[in-house]
């Protein structure tokens, strides 16, 4: 089992090396075999390891493998060691399995792209880095994976690098997440300085011993780690990069910017939950940020024209739900929503990508329409994904995961009616913007017509994800319905159970409320975007809609607050003495070059003259010696 566990992250890395070293000289047939194949074997190994893990839970709820000593100096030891517990198991399952499906989809989606092997090389590197991130046994190795996924995100957003806008989006994503990463590495320094180790288990054991409840170093460490999580997971105030990250190919959006990388922040907080438990004020901040983000992104999603941008804002909003769950101490509910979200959001991106592909890169949902009959499979899978996102009651997985979060937002010890209200409002927005998409793209008047049907390689992953978007909900049912707790039962070995204190109102009431809200939202979307489009248009014309469309003006605000002053400073500082000195050196060198180049005039007799004079010089010197 230990060898298999080691192979899971190493195989995609091997795939990356095989694909990248020959520099794209491999035959396409082989690329399509190696890229998805390596991730496929990883997924298979994950299945085997997972079954072994569930059949015979190891001692202490975790399996550890130490490969080699990476850093060992001055008291700092950071081995390359993997540790698999229930939390990591859920993550590696989603990463390899959803990753494999998306790789399969890409075989056809990217078929005509000239950067075929580059694409799969980056994707494999991403999967490998993400697996290292979630399997890492110490925070330094986790940070390595963390930066690795950030790099791949950058490379893949700017994959079509010939368009400067894509390069800009890639740099924006990289720089904004960098702000969070800097906070995180400072957090790592702080932890090491105080606790003298970076091993996660040691840290979690030492932190409560060394730091009391509510102590300030614990709060600082939690805040700094939270900073990293906010950047990576595109939460308020660092959320502005994700909508622009849609410049990458659709499979990239599905894998990196929906299913896996953006939830790394959720993983980090869940992994270091002890620190957050020590600092209740920071944990409350997590919940508040989650609640604010899910509302803010929900409103923005309501006004976007670009199919992928709607989904991007929806991703920000759904990760807001996960943060809300983590903030109220409902760890396993947050992770459950992560898993379900990975399924349905990957599905939505794949189906949306298929629509965009067959419509010849048409992104505007107002130019689409009536695709229901023309792309039946895409329609049904997209509908299932949307239903799950909108939390359509009883049948979809999204309903069960979101309902759990809403219930704990009220009932847990850290819960609050305001958090619940934000969650419910967010759910309402979610079902409106989701079905706005469905009605505009697949119903109504016929828009741009598709050039061809998506092939089998694209359809099959979508169908599998559609089945999971429905079926994954049934492994964790609320007490009021059937009381199945397979998922939280598994996670309880790694994360503390939620502490329910406000349980005086039965959960059924909340479920009914959530169900009514979801269905009402769908009905409103039906009214405003299909039955009476003038209603939707009425809203589109308003200033408020413009404001939401621009993402609440965050881009403009940051531009005015940070970008402009820095550019201005650089502008006025162009001629300070260092610059003057540097340009002087350059000018002087240039002057000498000009002088010397005068002697190279192409006239043979001048050169002979030069040689003769040189010889006379040398002879004179020799004679004087």
């Amino acid at each position: 089992m230990k060898i298999l566990l080691t192979l899971i992250p190493i195989l995609p890395l091997l795939g990356f090396l095989i694909l990248s070293v020959p520099g794209g000289k491999i035959m396409r047939k082989w690329i399509a075999f190696i890229g998805p194949g390596m991730v496929g074997i990883s997924a298979l190994l994950t299945m085997i390891v997972g079954i072994a893990f569930l059949a015979a839970p190891p001692q202490g709820g975790a399996v550890s493998v130490t490969l080699w000593e990476w850093i060992n100096t001055g008291g700092l030891t950071a081995p390359v060691a993997f540790r698999l517990d229930a939390l990591s198991l859920v993550f590696i399952f989603v990463i390899t399995f959803v990753g494999f499906l998306i790789h399969l989809y890409s075989v056809e989606f990217m078929a005509d792209d000239e950067g075929y092997s580059r694409f799969f090389a980056y994707m494999n590197l991403f999967v490998s880095s993400m697996l290292i991130l979630v399997l890492a046994d110490n925070l330094l190795l986790l940070y390595l994976g963390w930066e690795g996924v950030g790099l791949c995100s950058y490379l893949l957003i700017g994959f079509w690098y010939r368009n400067p806008a894509n390069g800009y989006a890639a740099r924006k994503a990289f720089i904004i997440t960098r702000i969070g990463d800097t906070a995180m590495i400072i957090g790592l320094f702080l932890l090491f300085l105080n606790l003298n180790t970076l091993n996660i288990q040691e840290l979690m054991r030492l932190a409560p011993v060394k730091w009391g409840q509510d102590s300030s170093p614990a709060a600082w460490a939690a805040v700094l780690l939270l900073g990293g999580a906010l950047g990576k997971s595109a939460q308020l105030p660092l959320q502005t990069w994700l909508p622009d990250a849609m410049a990458g190919p659709s499979p990239v959006s599905a894998l990196i910017h929906a299913a896996t990388m953006v939830t790394a922040g959720v993983y980090l907080i869940a992994r270091t939950h002890v620190l957050f438990a020590l600092a209740p004020s920071v944990q409350l901040t997590v919940a508040i940020i989650g609640a604010l983000t899910l509302l803010l992104a929900g409103f923005s999603a309501l006004t976007q024209h670009d199919l992928k941008r709607v989904l991007a804002y929806s991703t920000i909003s759904q990760i807001g739900y996960m943060f809300l769950a983590l903030g109220v101490g409902a760890w396993s509910a947050g992770i459950f929503h992560f898993m379900v979200h990975a399924f349905f959001k990957a599905l939505l991106f794949l189906a949306g990508g298929a629509v965009i592909l067959v419509l010849n890169e048409e992104h505007d949902i107002f130019k689409m329409g009536g695709l229901r009959k023309r792309l039946p499979v895409v329609f049904w899978t997209f509908l299932i994904g949307s239903a799950s996102l909108a939390a359509l009651p009883l049948i979809t997985a999204g309903f069960y995961s979101k309902d759990q979060i809403l219930w704990y937002a009220w009932s847990s010890a850290e819960g609050d009616p305001w958090l619940l209200a934000a969650g419910l409002a967010g759910a309402f927005l979610t079902s409106i913007y989701t079905f706005r998409l469905v009605f505009l793209v697949f119903f109504g008047e016929t828009g741009t017509s598709p050039t061809h049907q998506p092939g089998r390689m694209m359809i099959i992953p979508m169908i599998i994800l559609a089945v999971l978007s429905i079926g994954a909900g049934f492994i964790e049912l609320p007490e009021s319905l059937a009381h199945v707790q397979l998922f939280s039962g598994l996670l309880d070995t790694a994360l503390p159970a939620v502490n329910v204190t406000h349980g005086n109102i039965p959960e059924v009431i909340f479920q009914l409320l959530a169900a009514i809200i979801s269905v009402t939202g769908i009905y409103i979307a039906y009214l405003a975007y299909l039955k009476k489009p003038e209603l939707g248009n009425l809203f589109n014309k308003t200033r408020l809609s413009e404001f939401f469309y621009s993402g609440w003006g965050f881009d403009r605000f940051y531009n005015a607050l940070f970008v402009k002053p820095v550019v201005w400073l650089a502008e006025i500082d162009k001629t300070d003495f260092i610059d003057v000195f540097n340009t002087a050196v350059a000018r002087l060198t240039l002057l000498f070059t000009r002088l010397l180049s005068l002697t190279q005039n192409g006239k043979l007799r001048w050169y002979i003259m030069g040689s003769a004079i040189g010889i006379v010089f040398i002879l004179t010197i020799l004679m004087n010696l």
Binding site: S597, L598, Q600, N601, G602, K603, L604, R605, I608, M609, A612
Partner: protein, 104 residues
């Protein structure tokens, strides 16, 4: 038999060399430049002969004969180049051939 001092002999060879060099520098016609080079070669050969006579060694004259062979080869190659040059550029003026230079 009057013997000329060796210094005068060397001075004569140097003068010959200088004549060749000046010819090389002032002439623009390649054929004359080639002839000037021949003059310089011969002045060098003369130094060999003078040195051989001065120390009564045969090597000086051997070297001169060897040098004759070398210059013969050199002249044949150089003449071929000059023929090609005239063929391509329709001129024998070296100053016309100044394309190989730094251009601003």
């Amino acid at each position: 038999m009057i013997t000329v001092p060796v210094e005068i002999q060397i001075l004569f060879a140097g003068l010959l060399f200088l004549m060749g060099l000046i010819g090389l520098l002032v002439r623009r016609n390649v054929i004359f430049m080639l002839m000037s080079i021949e003059v310089m070669f011969n002045s060098a050969g003369m130094v060999f002969v003078i040195a051989g006579a001065h120390w009564a060694q045969a090597e000086g004259q051997v070297m001169f004969i060897f040098m004759l062979a070398v210059t013969a080869t050199e002249v044949s190659v150089a003449l071929a180049i000059i023929l090609q040059m005239f063929h391509h550029f329709k001129t024998l003026d070296v100053d016309e051939l100044n394309k190989l230079k730094e251009t601003d």
